[in-house]
């Protein structure tokens, strides 16, 4: 490559010919409303640099002008708002955004404009705004915190703006299983992939970039005589042809979690399926969350170059040396015309040589080391570049971008250089994040002055730069070896293959963490504006452990999670407190490795798909009848059935209740839990889970039962029917169906594995309808004909039967929740729709009325039946007036603990009925009881109202409640206190059964 001038005025910094961009595909985009063009293959960052844009954002605290520091996902500075409207994405790193036609981006955290940001006055207060300054002030007067100080702080903080509209895109989840997962497709990862793939093992190769190749794309390496990118294309072609290999580009493996096969782990990865497009194509998600279960893993995630802390090191134009090479070699962009290099490593020198090859002669190479390998200095000499060894950049100056640096030469002389770009190389930090998610600690290496993998997750091998092996040769060799070993370990035979030919490299580094003589602000954490002085202040104030340092100064808490800052900060702290870096340790890196959109974790589970919607088989019929539905857990149940013209819910319910109590009604009760219990010990099993006896229940009979938790409090109630000597059918409340099933499974499998009992939930298998009212029997006679005799004599209260009806197995139970003469008819769910239509037509002459759960609720309160409101997990059987059901003849779950003093206390609240003394008053559930005249206080609390309803039969509101010593207080007037809604109502304590207390109707 040779010197080349600017190619076109719109892209003044674009080099002719060079790079992995597609020059015949120009793309136009906007930044802060201004139009630019770039090429296919550009990132937003490379396209902005090509266009000569250097100022890209403002920092968090001081609103300092910031440019582009890196060329990767570790970018702390160049964060933009991408896209607009409902797709607006805050804090998007320009360095990883692939350019697409029409891309729109805006700078953040500035007002009124990026160039003229009023917030920059914060810089004037910088002497006050040191680390943790807010802990020391804003305390007086206390009221001003929420009113003034905090709102100002909140508005100033934060970077980009989130959209206020729902995200319109879709997200997917996928599972993958493989023998070997390879993370990173740089030279080490590619070598690993080759040797694993050739063995025939199932391989998944992931890379966060949209090109495979890693550093090969940013350097001028040659492998086997071809360029790095050309070699990558050959490898990629071979891998693509290998049937068991899957390549996932644009896919970041961001977390390691517990649980995989044979003691290995689960990896989470995010694939950006459509982020490189303006909007996702039809039927494509924006992103896909992968859960990868791998037997072996090869971590080849490379290393991250670290900045050096010196005055003004945040000015736009100061860039990582490797990023400069990437922009030149991969994107054909020269970040500036007048550049210098500041390095402490051999590696940095490559930048000087690459820039020279691109036609940019460096103003100077400033190497902090006094002694540098002669091959480097000779090459510099050949290129006619000034070299300062043992020198340091003390300060970088410029207003909105870099204009000048002050260099302290070896002899101590200060000199000034006019430059617009400074490439910085402070050495490399192996990317060990994924080694530490499961708690592994990295190990310090003096040789490379960085942390390298220590204890790594089981089954993981770390290779190449991620392991601290920085030469290309080592990366290729280690990758190939780890790939082969992984293949062998997963039962494949590895194929020996030739090592590719590459040239040797120099990788020596002598760390320079911080330039001590800097006069201006020297940044450790760019995004969070943490300076060297902040670290010093933390040391002075005792926040000297790395975790306290992080929390006090916010070092490493920015969107890059400290990738570019943590180690520098720790090294400075180590020096200040006279400890060695390994003694200090390092902070724990947490998943995700790079930030992941919340929606990606949720996948399709949002909106209506948040949870499954369970519909009964009578749903379509109910819909046709104009039912209003409500959620009942995951079920939708008919709340009521409005007749034409009816709008007031109370009118509807009153009509429904009256219809049932005077004629006949039908209600879909399919949602109640149904558990089929079979086996030789089924009867014994039920005796142990219910407080009352079930072994004595005759075949063909139903009994009401109550079960307790092990702690002695009520778990659930319901009926169980004995269908055969060894078969019971248990019903549970809708809300507790799963809980009861779990409880029974626990009892069966854990407590009493010796019992011969099998249980299965059949809730979904049966449709069940309650047919209630004085005309219920006549309806059934017509409906069932001679399939079964439903006369009172043949089928009395609490009878049950299984029979064949129109060729279908049906079940009939004579049970009643409404208190009326009632039956529940069950048919297999697939006949549920036909059954309800048959019931309706058989009932037509009786004026059958469908009713919903509100009417059902009103009727059960009239009857004093308890439901979830009373079975709220804090009531005992005795509280509910069911204490006498507790059998003394047997043991059962909860019996022992129910005897604890606190549960057997006579002063507990017990179930009572209440009615307002003023019959027109409305009652509210959740009101607390107070003795008349008692002062309002929690100490005087006498209990609370659990359920209320307007009773159509009594013509006023009624309620159930739990009242201290309630059963002794019938007739007493008390106060139902409800300041939060409705106010106070005087009520009379009455028995909990309001309607037909003798139960004459259900026996009739």
């Amino acid at each position: 490559m040779n010197a080349s001038g600017p190619q076109e005025s719109a892209q003044p910094n674009r080099l002719a010919g060079a790079g992995l961009i597609d020059r015949i595909r120009p793309l136009s985009f906007q930044f802060d409303g201004k139009r630019y063009t770039g090429f296919d293959g550009d990132t937003l960052a490379s396209a902005l640099l090509a266009a000569g844009v250097r100022l890209v954002g403002r920092s968090f605290k001081y609103h300092r002008p910031r440019g582009i520091l890196t060329a990767g996902s570790e970018e702390p500075n160049a964060l933009v708002e991408l896209r607009s409207g409902s797709r607006r994405e805050a804090n998007t790193r320009a360095t990883v955004v692939e350019l697409f036609e029409g891309l729109e981006a805006r700078s953040q955290n500035r007002w009124p404009s990026l160039a003229l940001d009023v917030g920059a006055v914060n810089s004037l207060f910088a002497p006050i705004f040191v680390a943790g300054f807010y802990y020391k002030t804003f305390m007086w007067p206390a009221v001003l915190w929420e009113k003034l100080y905090e709102p100002v702080i909140r508005r100033a903080a934060g970077l980009g703006r989130a959209s206020t509209e729902a995200d319109p895109d879709t997200y997917e989840k996928a599972y993958a299983f493989c023998d070997v997962l390879i993370i990173g497709a740089g030279p080490a990862g590619l070598a690993a992939a080759l040797s694993t793939a050739r063995s025939g093992a199932r391989v998944i190769l992931c890379d966060e970039d949209f090109l495979l190749g890693g550093r090969l794309n940013g350097e001028r390496y040659e492998i086997d005589g071809v360029s790095g990118p050309a070699w990558t294309r050959q490898v990629e072609a071979e891998l693509r042809a290998s049937p068991e290999t899957r390549i996932l580009r644009r896919t970041t493996v961001f977390g390691v979690y517990d649980g995989g096969m044979s003691g290995t782990h689960t990896f989470a990865a995010l694939q950006r399926v459509s982020d490189h497009l303006a909007i996702p194509p039809a039927h494509q998600p924006r992103q896909r969350l992968w859960r990868i279960i791998a037997q072996r893993t090869v971590l080849a995630a490379g290393a991250l170059e670290r900045p050096i802390v010196f005055g003004g090191n945040d000015r736009p134009g100061v860039m990582m040396a490797s990023a400069v090479r990437t922009y030149v070699n991969r994107f054909g962009v020269i970040p500036g015309r007048h550049a210098a290099l500041f390095t402490t490593s051999d590696d940095g020198w490559k930048t000087a040589f690459d820039l020279a090859a691109a036609g940019v002669r460096l103003a100077a190479i400033i190497d902090a080391r006094s002694v540098v390998a002669p091959v480097l200095t000779e090459e510099a000499k050949r290129l006619d570049t000034r070299v300062f060894c043992g020198a340091q950049v003390v300060d970088a100056h410029g207003s909105r971008a870099l204009e000048r640096i002050t260099v302290r030469e070896d002899a101590g002389r200060l000199s000034q250089l006019q430059i617009d770009t400074l490439a910085v190389s402070g050495g490399w930090n192996p990317n060990v994040a994924l080694c530490t998610h499961l708690g592994g600690r990295p190990r310090w290496s003096d040789a490379i002055a960085a942390f390298v993998p220590g204890d790594v997750p089981r089954g993981m091998a770390v290779v190449g730069a991620a392991a601290g092996s920085f030469s290309l040769k080592d990366a290729l060799r280690e990758g190939a070896a780890a790939g082969a070993a992984a293949a062998e370990a997963t039962g494949f035979k590895s194929v020996k293959h030739r090592e590719p030919r590459v040239t040797d490299e120099l990788t020596a580094v002598v760390p320079l963490w911080c330039v001590s003589e800097s006069k201006t602000k020297a940044f450790v954490d760019f995004q969070h504006d943490v300076t060297r002085e902040d670290v010093a202040l933390a040391a002075r104030e005792g926040f000297s452990s790395v975790e306290l340092l992080k929390r006090y100064t916010t070092l490493g808490m920015a969107t890059d999670q400290g990738k570019t800052s943590s180690l520098n900060g720790h090294a400075i702290m180590a020096a200040l407190t006279e400890r060695a870096i390994p003694e200090l340790g390092t902070t724990t890196s947490r998943p995700p490795y790079t930030p992941v959109a919340l929606a990606a974790f949720a996948g399709v589970h949002r909106g209506k798909h948040f949870k499954p919607t369970r519909l009964t088989s009578g749903h379509a019929w109910a819909e046709g009848r104009g039912a209003t539905f409500m959620e009942s857990g995951e079920w939708l149940r008919a709340q009521w059935f409005a007749a034409p013209g009816e709008t007031d819910w109370l009118t509807i319910i009153t009509r429904e209740v009256r219809a049932v109590r005077s004629g006949v009604g039908v209600c879909d009760v399919s949602t109640l839990g149904k558990i089929d219990i079979q086996g030789e010990d089924a009867a014994a099993f039920l005796d142990r889970v219910y407080i009352n006896l079930f072994s004595t229940l005759p075949i063909g009979k139903v009994r009401y039962g109550l079960m307790l938790r092990e702690d002695g409090l009520v778990l659930d109630d319901g009926t169980s029917a004995r269908l055969a000597p060894q078969q019971y059918l248990m019903s549970t409340t809708t809300a507790n169906a799963a809980k009861v099933m779990r409880h029974l499974e626990h009892a069966r499998q854990v407590l009493w594995p010796e019992l011969d009992v099998q249980i299965v939930s059949v809730t979904e298998q049966w449709a069940q309808y309650a047919i209630a009212g004085p005309n219920a029997r006549r309806l059934l006679e017509r409906l069932l004909g001679d399939a079964i005799d439903v006369s009172n004599a043949a089928f009395p209260y609490l009878a049950c039967a299984e029979f064949s009806w129109r060729g279908v197995t049906a079940r009939l139970f004579r049970i009643s929740f409404s208190g009326e003469l009632a039956y529940e008819l069950a048919v297999p769910a697939r006949y549920g729709d036909a059954a309800i239509r048959a019931i309706m037509s058989a009932g037509e002459d009786f004026g059958i009325t469908p009713y919903g759960i509100e009417a059902l609720g009103a009727m059960r309160i009239e009857k004093g039946h308890v439901t979830g409101n009373e079975l709220n997990g804090t009531t005992t059987a005795a509280d509910l007036g069911l204490g006498r059901m507790m059998s003394k003849k047997k043991d059962f779950i909860g019996r022992v603990l129910a005897r604890r003093a606190g549960l057997a206390d006579a002063n507990r609240a017990a179930l009572v009925g209440i009615k307002p003394t003023d019959k027109s008053a409305r009652l509210y559930a959740g009101a607390h009881f107070l003795t008349l005249g008692a002062e309002v206080s929690l100490q005087n609390d006498q209990g609370y109202v659990t359920s209320v309803a307007f009773s159509p039969m009594l013509g006023h509101w009624i309620g159930l409640g739990l009242l201290v010593r309630g059963q002794e207080r019938l007739g007493e007037r008390i106060r139902a206190h409800s300041p939060i809604r409705g106010g106070d109502v005087d009520v009379e304590v009455v028995a909990s059964v309001f309607f037909d207390p003798e139960g004459a109707r259900l026996q009739s």
Binding site: R88, A597, L598, H605, G926
Partner: protein, 432 residues
């Protein structure tokens, strides 16, 4: 209660500079060189009147109130790592006093009162921020339980409001009011609820306690107890043995393990709870919001990060990390409730180990072993309790009798059945 006089200066070796805007500006002019350590990094002495195990919020608050309220300052707080390294520095910082039961509500309200005066008490800005806590409800039954809770709060003079869906929409228009699987019917609002900066709470108490003479000893793990005639008279630590008149345990997630050193088995299970923070964004969510139809709650920190969490991972663990299914479950809740934050990115997630009690409420009590006192069972709600927990534990340690608002927090209540189960889920700690 009198503030100590200048004598401590000599004892501590340095004078603590008051935190104020005046001193801050003065220091700004001289490069902040004169600020001293926020607390003394003390080395252990051989004996103390009281040793507190655990340098989390509760342990440090206990030390502060022992010194300040009871005049007992010959106290050491022993912390195995750095202070705040446990749950104090991992939680989602929500403070509230919206409790139902008479055994809980007065305690948490006392805590809220202490929060309201904390900055002035500690001379440390812990950023107590009363921007409101809103618990959403999605069914009539849920509304009724919230009404019951709100009424209980009002009966104790705690602020509470029951909002309908319209009022919620006015407050948080970006919630899903159109296509939600479980539509929002309204919410229970406590305006005095909010958040506080968790680390600052730890540091503020440490600084104030240290200033009164308390020794804060980091990197000092308790490894055993010293017994004499059935009484515990000291602890073995990684920094030697330390004797004490009384020993208070405030080790939260490590409760079972430390109790085991004393041969105690407690009604506590250890569970992981995860928390999440997003990248910082401009102000979006004013207060704290909890979803009533899934496991998700959220607030926004002053720095701009959305701080959120959900359910326990569900299995017993001492590992301070969680797993992917729960991450997904929490984010599903997030998207179901506020689909506008879908493109906001999760920056970090982490886990803490919770000391889950059998009824979801804490224990502040003597143990059966003389000399050893227990503060535990905070589940995932102990941050808000920090001031009152310290206050009441100090009271118990100093006077050997429970404080009035913590009387219900007895260790024997599981045996006697005087349970404090706010939600009625029973003795299944992973469900509280």
């Amino acid at each position: 209660m009198a503030r100590y006089a200048g004598d401590s200066t000599a004892r501590l070796g340095f004078a603590l500079m008051r935190y104020s805007i005046f001193n801050l500006v003065r220091q700004a002019l001289s490069g902040h060189r004169a600020w001293g350590p926020a607390w003394r990094d003390a080395a252990p002495k051989s004996a103390y009147d009281v040793v507190i195990i655990g340098g989390g919020g509760h342990g440090l608050a206990t030390a502060h109130y022992l010194a300040k309220i009871h005049g007992i300052s010959n106290v050491a707080v022993l912390e195995k790592g750095w202070i705040g390294s446990g749950n104090a520095g991992r939680n989602t910082t929500i403070i509230r006093s919206n409790y139902l039961l008479a055994g809980n509500n007065p305690f948490y309200e006392w805590s809220m009162k202490l929060w309201e005066g904390l900055e002035q008490d500690l001379n440390y800005n812990a950023m107590v921020s009363q921007r409101g806590v809103l618990n959403l409800y999605h069914s009539d039954a849920q509304r009724d339980t919230y009404a019951r809770r709100g009424n209980a709060m009002r009966m104790h003079g705690v602020d509470a409001e029951l909002l309908d869906a319209e009022a919620v929409r006015r407050m948080l228009p970006f919630l899903d009011f159109n296509g939600a699987r479980f539509p929002i019917h309204g919410g229970l609002l406590q305006r005095r609820g909010g958040t506080a900066r968790h680390d600052a709470v730890v540091w503020g108490y440490a600084r104030a306690a240290s200033d009164r003479g308390v020794d804060i000893i980091q990197n000092c793990e308790v490894t055993g107890f010293i017994r004499e005639a059935g009484t515990i008279v000291g602890v073995e630590t990684t920094r030697g043995s330390i004797r004490a008149g009384k020993i208070g345990m405030a080790v939260a997630g490590s409760t079972s393990r430390v109790a085991e050193l004393a041969g105690l088995k407690l009604p506590i299970e250890s569970h992981v709870l995860q928390a999440f923070v997003s990248e910082a964004i401009k102000p979006f969510i004013p207060g704290v919001v909890t979803f009533g139809a899934g496991h998700f709650y959220i607030s926004q920190s002053d720095k701009g990060g959305l701080v959120f969490g959900g359910d326990l991972d569900g299995y017993n663990s001492y590992a301070q990390r969680g797993n992917l299914p729960t991450v997904e479950d929490v984010c599903e809740g997030a998207m179901a409730l506020m689909p506008a934050i879908g493109r906001v990115r999760v920056l970090r997630s982490w886990g803490g180990v919770m000391d889950m009690s059998m009824d979801g409420s804490p224990i502040i009590d003597r143990t059966v072993i003389a000399g050893l006192y227990l503060n535990a069972g905070w589940c995932y709600g102990g941050f808000k309790a920090t001031p009152a927990s310290g206050w009441c534990f100090a009271h118990l340690l100093a006077r050997d009798e429970p404080h009035a608002v913590a009387r219900a927090y007895r260790l024997d209540r599981f045996a006697t059945g005087h349970l404090l189960d706010e939600r009625g889920v029973g003795a299944q700690p992973n469900l509280h």
